[in-house]
Symmetry: C2
Subunit: 260 residues, 2 copies
Amino acid sequence: MEARRRICLTVAYDGTAYCGWQVQKNGNTIESELNRALSELTGEKIQVIGASRTDAGVHGLCNLAVFDTCFRIPAEKLPYALNQRLPEDIRVRESKEVAPDFHPRRCRSRKTYEYHILNAPFSNPVKRLYSYFTYAPLDVEKMRQAAAYLVGEHDFASFCSAGSQAETTVRTIYDLTVEKSGDEIVIRVTGSGFLYNMVRIIAGTLMEAGRGRMASEKMEEVLAAGNRTAAGPTAPACGLILTEICYERQENSDFFTNPA
Amino acid sequence: MEARRRICLTVAYDGTAYCGWQVQKNGNTIESELNRALSELTGEKIQVIGASRTDAGVHGLCNLAVFDTCFRIPAEKLPYALNQRLPEDIRVRESKEVAPDFHPRRCRSRKTYEYHILNAPFSNPVKRLYSYFTYAPLDVEKMRQAAAYLVGEHDFASFCSAGSQAETTVRTIYDLTVEKSGDEIVIRVTGSGFLYNMVRIIAGTLMEAGRGRMASEKMEEVLAAGNRTAAGPTAPACGLILTEICYERQENSDFFTNPA
């Protein structure tokens, strides 16, 4: 009998054409493409476990896909074999053997997302798929002031769309920055995990502050309300990109940190 | 009778889905989309004159489209009216009335193109449409050394694909830089004008030098040969983007410089 190993893939994707990460009955997903390519390659029925179940239209540079296999191939050769079987908008960037108990959603991690905004009089066709365009001028300083209220451990119930299955709405944001370069604004947020649509609701609420439609100090009340209706709109998916996932090193395992 | 005016549009586009700028019998082009939108709006039969007839798959941030019209609308309102009638991958960014004798290809100008290369072990899905991916490591210093031979006035016959209708193959390159940031290399070239495929052949030849398949000093011979076969391959279209066009100010006209 072949030895069974647990493999962790680092996967980058352009989410434009997909109904999100998670397998769905109707519509193509990143996960289903990976399952298909892995099953074809190994001859086993593979179902990967993802680190982040990104929504339809959201992009990823470093999501993780974990699976067990008896297929004999050095882990580091897998990207080459898989990329041949995957569409161009999904690329396996890395592959490692990991501890047999490693679960990419149950193990403690820090995830970083970026939300990209194009703030200009007119859209830019070559950036349109990877940023949210708004011509309404955004005041980055006001966005930063509002963002500061969200850093730390809080109940983020106001920043969670209906349909979440989370047991608790308490999360920790370690870092939340707003940077402007030319006509592009990038909101970068690192946290212990994120509720359903949390980053997009944060981005939508920060843009309300940036437009002057909400005072920056009001962010404290929004957070305290514990109610989705208190926050701003959910910003569109195309501006969101998962850029980094780091795991805590633990004893009795050889997890990597920063697999991207 | 209405006053006839000459209008100059600044146009950005994602070239991925188009057969290039210039109207063609078979296939959609940027120019034909602009002609359609302008004709619909004005009720006149409009045929624009472009500053740069970019190839299929090449992108542009600031190409110019010049036309005459009797349609009464302030020039600065045109982008709003036109963008509603254009697909998302084409945007009119600016519109100005110009001198009636302004011709965007006959008037002296400086054009800047960038060629974007993703040099990494694996492709990046969110950059794939706007850069050329190669895993072969490129030595930027060797590319710079090779690039230095091309700056100045030269006969660029070696860097011109068959099918060119140019009267002379002499052109001036004012500036040619190679910059690396992370896994992205950008070749930026500013010149008095470019022959058919010239920037893509320069990029292809610089990559030969960067890979060590051609000594940087050999660029002098390549230039002297006056023969397309002496240079490297034509780099793929997706990496190329027209980023700037500047016109010389002239007496008796009110041309702008740097319309982007």
